[in-house]
């Protein structure tokens, strides 16, 4: 129940974060495979990052200090969430009872500044993307907190460390498999929404009018864009690792096998994102709320299931 600090866990954390761009490349590879192309090299995301870090920047004359703060804060927020997450069953770097509430609010803070940085440019397109982003994320927030309600019902805990590193952690292989299965599906839908993937948003589209996240960062360049990219990697990694931890009970195995299974599942989830992008089209903008609310309905149903289990 108490707060803890495990500095040694920084090593697996930083390793995983360092591998995140590689995992992103897995999405591209899967998509390429489905469309019969060879796809970009595996290290594409690293070379993009280094290219951006080497470059100079162009700033809009309309913008203020907020434009430069946006990337910094969105990266720090996404990275901080990972500090509280137990990777492969190892204890997280930091943890306290109630940290999940703070972490999802930190992600909200990152979004708040990304949106402000977009509005700072006075571009009508970026305003449009920002309006969509805040709408969809407000809906996604509902699903996420319903998941937290469910997890509290299952474990009486309010932190990632308690969710996953106890012996009675929440996994598909426990007595509460049915609600967890629903959560896995819902969480995957939220992953697609929050990380601007197809069918909610298309990171590879070319028409600004149809973008959500990409259009908000149109004016960022150089190291600022690199920070945004790294923040996006961290956020994607967080959601993917969240689902991974639900899929397999890492706390009960050997450390070495845990790590192997962890990365295997992680790659599978990234591959799943690529698969979803390859086989589904993009929704019309008006359909996206229904998609997010479907994920809410799934989790709410899971909560009702636990009511039956308890009584």
């Amino acid at each position: 129940m108490n707060s803890s600090f495990t500095p040694i866990s920084l090593i697996p954390l930083l390793t995983t974060v360092a591998l995140a761009p590689l995992l992103m490349a897995a999405i591209l590879k899967v998509k390429a495979c489905f469309s019969g192309r060879q796809g970009p090299p595996w290290l594409i995301k690293y070379s993009t990052l280094f290219k951006l870090l080497r470059k100079g920047s162009v700033y809009s004359t309309s913008s203020t200090f907020l434009f430069k703060m946006g990337p910094v804060i969105s990266f720090v927020c996404a990275f901080m969430v990972l500090l509280f997450f137990p990777f492969a069953g190892l204890p997280p770097v930091l943890s306290f009872h109630g940290d999940v509430i703070m972490l999802f609010y930190l992600l909200g803070l990152g979004r708040f500044f990304t949106v402000l940085a977009a509005l700072d440019t006075a571009s009508p397109f970026e305003g449009m993307g920002a309006a969509r982003e805040v709408f969809f994320s407000a809906l996604a927030e509902v699903t996420i907190f319903t998941i937290l309600v469910l997890f509290f019902r299952l474990t009486n805990s309010l932190s990632f460390a308690e969710y996953f590193s106890h012996n009675h952690g929440i996994t598909l292989w426990s007595s509460s498999a049915a609600p967890v299965l629903l959560v896995v599906i819902a969480l995957f839908m939220i992953l697609l929404t929050e990380n601007s993937r197809v069918p909610v948003d298309d990171p590879a589209t070319h028409l600004e009018l149809t973008m959500i996240h990409e259009v908000m960062i149109l004016d960022h360049s150089g190291p600022d864009l690199a920070l945004i990219e790294m923040g996006a990697f961290c956020k994607m990694l967080f959601y993917a690792a969240f689902i991974t931890s639900l899929l397999y009970p890492f706390s009960s195995g050997f450390p070495a096998s845990n790590v192997v299974i962890f990365f295997l599942l992680l790659t599978l989830i990234y591959g799943g994102v690529g698969l979803a992008e390859s086989i589904t089209g993009r929704f019309r903008m008006a359909m996206v709320p229904n998609f997010i609310l479907t994920s809410f309905a799934l989790v709410f149903f899971a909560v009702i299931l636990t009511m039956e289990l308890v009584q």
């Binding site: 707060s3 990266f75 009872h97 109630g98 970026e126 920002a130 907190f145 149109l218 004016d219």
Partner: protein, 652 residues
């Protein structure tokens, strides 16, 4: 008690000296503001000391008339509200030093200071009242003095209409409140607060509901919130800051105080409060999203935050009814801390709004833009207020919302209706947070960022020093409470000691989580600082260029092409269709070479419409039919009074 009275005396002196010395305008302002700030700080210090030193409740009684005593009692709950009541108006008074700058209106300014001090004194007396009559009297003085503050610009027709609406609401609310107090009197047979816990369960519910309507109309609970979005834009901004930041919380105090006095055992009380909290919270922010007038938008956010406070109190009440100590203590403490936090950031936002309205002459957000460059300090302070009101870490709004979440999560072991409502409370709190983020990115983005949308916005300059100082104080309070919350959380828990169950919670059980929040907040700031430093190092020695915003291929962008607040909120507002009525008028394009076209859209609050159709029209219909009673003949009016007294004496 002496310090308390000394503070009230100083504030009263400020209010009385102003009209006397109003011929010399600067002298009057300096005297009034010095007295108000001095009295406010003294009173706030005294109240804070009571909380910190865990003082025993003090009482003061003045035998008065034949039948009722004028009696005051300051316990920890009163002391908590007193801190807010004394400190926030002191900052607002400081702001008014340069905000009320028109020396031609010196009489109005003097009256403003008089009623301002009267409002502070009456609010302090409401939260200290120890008998039903003292409470009712102080309440009425509070309502009337705030009415006179609202109609400061009485030359404007809109202001008079808003003032009238507020007056009607406040008197109708008082009617219910007095009915509730009268009902409690009839149940116990005396005016004191002490015997209220012993009345029957159904009596408690009726009395509580009447008082809930009375206090709720002051607090702005949906559907009794209709006066807020009219009165706040009409009132001067430092008055809006005090009314929205402090006065509506006195309504919350009334609800909480009578709940504590009645000590009901039934969970129905908590369930009613949670339902009201959910409705006020979500719809308040949805209506705010649809509003174009900055102060009206902020007024709807007060409704939203009252909803959050009610969610906290409701969670606490459910916890108390079900014997769940963690839930009770965290719910009540979270709700109370949100009272303090909202007082700080909402008055900050109103003061910022006042500064920019003074500079640009308009409150319509779609005519503003780019003010972060011309009003850098106000812009940054407003940004701090916006992050705080959205409830994001590491600012103060998050701390109180965290406590409410914490309490609500620990209430998930309840059953049936209480369980469902707790789940709904958590979900709606999250949803409110998301929607508030949407609304405040809209406000900051449209008003302060981008390019100016009108000449008035382009020519704005920074506000006066006293106005900036007031905003600076409140903005730093937001950050201080957010990063070092321990003492404020302790104070909130100290204030709920009156609840027997919540008193069993030891500081050791909540301080670790609060300390962890504080450390995480600090870590966040350190990381932001380090990343910012890295970013600067990476940018060093590289080519940094400045160019116009990328218009996606369009080469002649204009400021009018920016996304407006209306379009920003449009999809979200339409999502809530049955609860909001969007009326839009588009002139259309008629000729081959289109000339001037207009598009107008208005987002209606269905409760306001409902009130018009269901209440105002029938009442108007009835009263026009009864018009013949009003003939202007004074003898007959006296006859009515005599008749009424006779009837009452004979039949009651």
């Amino acid at each position: 008690m002496h310090t308390f009275f000394l503070a009230l005396l100083l504030i009263a002196a400020g209010g009385i000296l102003a009209p006397i010395s109003c011929r010399v305008f600067p002298l009057m302002k300096i005297m009034a503001v010095t007295a108000l700030v001095g009295g406010g700080l003294l009173g706030g210090w005294d109240a804070a000391m009571r909380l910190i030193l865990h003082s025993v409740p003090e009482t003061f009684t003045l035998p008065w008339l034949q039948f009722c005593r004028f009696s005051l009692r300051i316990d920890s709950l009163s002391a908590f509200f007193l801190v807010v009541i004394f400190v926030v108006p002191a900052v607002a008074a400081l702001y008014s030093l340069q905000y009320l700058h028109d020396s031609r209106r010196r009489a109005a300014v003097a009256a403003n200071y008089f009623f301002f001090s009267l409002l502070i004194i009456s609010m302090a007396l409401v939260v200290c009242a120890d008998t039903l009559v003292t409470f009712a009297l102080a309440w009425e003085v509070m309502s009337l003095s705030s009415f006179f503050l609202v109609i400061y610009d009485s030359a404007e027709q809109e202001t008079r209409a808003a003032g009238y609406l507020y007056f009607v609401f406040t008197q109708a609310g008082a009617l219910f409140l007095f009915a509730g107090l009268g009902f409690l009197y009839s149940a116990t047979g005396n005016f004191s607060f002490s015997g209220l816990a012993d009345i029957s369960a159904s009596g408690k519910l009726i009395g509580f509901l009447l008082i809930l309507i009375g206090c709720g109309s002051k607090a702005g609970i949906i559907p009794l919130h209709t006066w807020l979005p009219h009165a706040h834009p009409a009132a001067p901004s430092h008055v809006s800051a005090v009314m929205s930041g402090v006065m509506i919380k006195v309504g919350i105090y009334g609800i909480l105080r009578f709940y504590l006095l009645l000590q009901p055992a039934s969970p129905v009380f908590g369930q009613i409060i949670i339902v009201l909290g959910i409705v006020s919270g979500i719809l308040g922010v949805v209506y705010a999203l649809g509003k174009h007038n900055l102060k009206r938008l902020l007024a709807y956010h007060s409704v939203e935050n009252i909803g959050i406070i009610l969610l906290g109190l409701g969670v606490g009440m459910l916890g108390a009814a079900s014997g769940n100590a963690t839930m009770a203590a965290f719910g009540f403490a979270g709700g109370l801390l949100h009272v303090l936090n909202h007082a700080v950031f909402k008055s900050l936002l109103f003061l910022g709004a006042g500064a920019l309205i003074q500079q640009t002459g308009t409150a319509t957000i779609d005519r503003l833009g780019g003010l972060m460059k011309s009003m850098p300090f106000t812009g940054r302070a407003f940004l701090v207020g916006s992050i705080s009101i959205t409830g994001l870490p590491p600012f103060n709004g998050f701390i109180s919302e965290f406590l409410i979440y914490y309490g609500a999560f620990h209430g998930l072991s309840l059953h049936h209706a209480s369980f469902v409502l707790t789940v709904l409370a958590i979900i709606s709190l999250a949803f409110i947070g998301g929607l508030a983020a949407a609304c405040f990115t809209k406000v900051v983005g449209v008003v302060f960022l981008g390019e100016p949308r009108s000449d008035a916005a382009a020519q704005a300059g920074e506000a006066g020093v006293s106005m900036l100082l007031a905003q600076g104080i409140l903005a730093s309070l937001c950050l201080i409470i957010g990063i070092w919350p321990e003492h404020f959380v302790l104070a909130a828990f100290q204030a709920v000691q009156a609840i027997p169950l919540a008193a069993t919670i030891e500081p050791a059980s909540f301080l670790p989580a609060v300390t962890a929040l504080s450390r995480t907040g600090l870590l966040f700031i350190v990381l932001v600082f380090c990343t910012g430093l890295c970013r600067r190092l990476l940018s060093m020695g590289k080519e940094i260029r400045h160019a116009p915003t990328w218009g996606c291929g369009f080469s002649r962008p204009s400021a009018r092409m920016q996304y407006t607040g209306t379009s920003y909120g449009d999809t979200l507002v339409n999502f809530f269709r049955p609860f909001v009525r969007v009326r839009s008028h588009y002139s259309g394009i008629t000729a081959i070479f289109p000339a001037h076209a207009t598009y107008r859209t208005h987002v209606h609050d269905i409760f306001e419409l409902g009130l018009q159709i269901l209440l105002i029209r029938p009442v108007l219909f009835l009263t026009t039919r009864l018009r013949w009673i009003q003939h202007g003949n004074i003898q007959l009016y006296i006859g009515y009074i005599v008749l009424a007294i006779l009837v009452m004496l004979l039949f009651l």
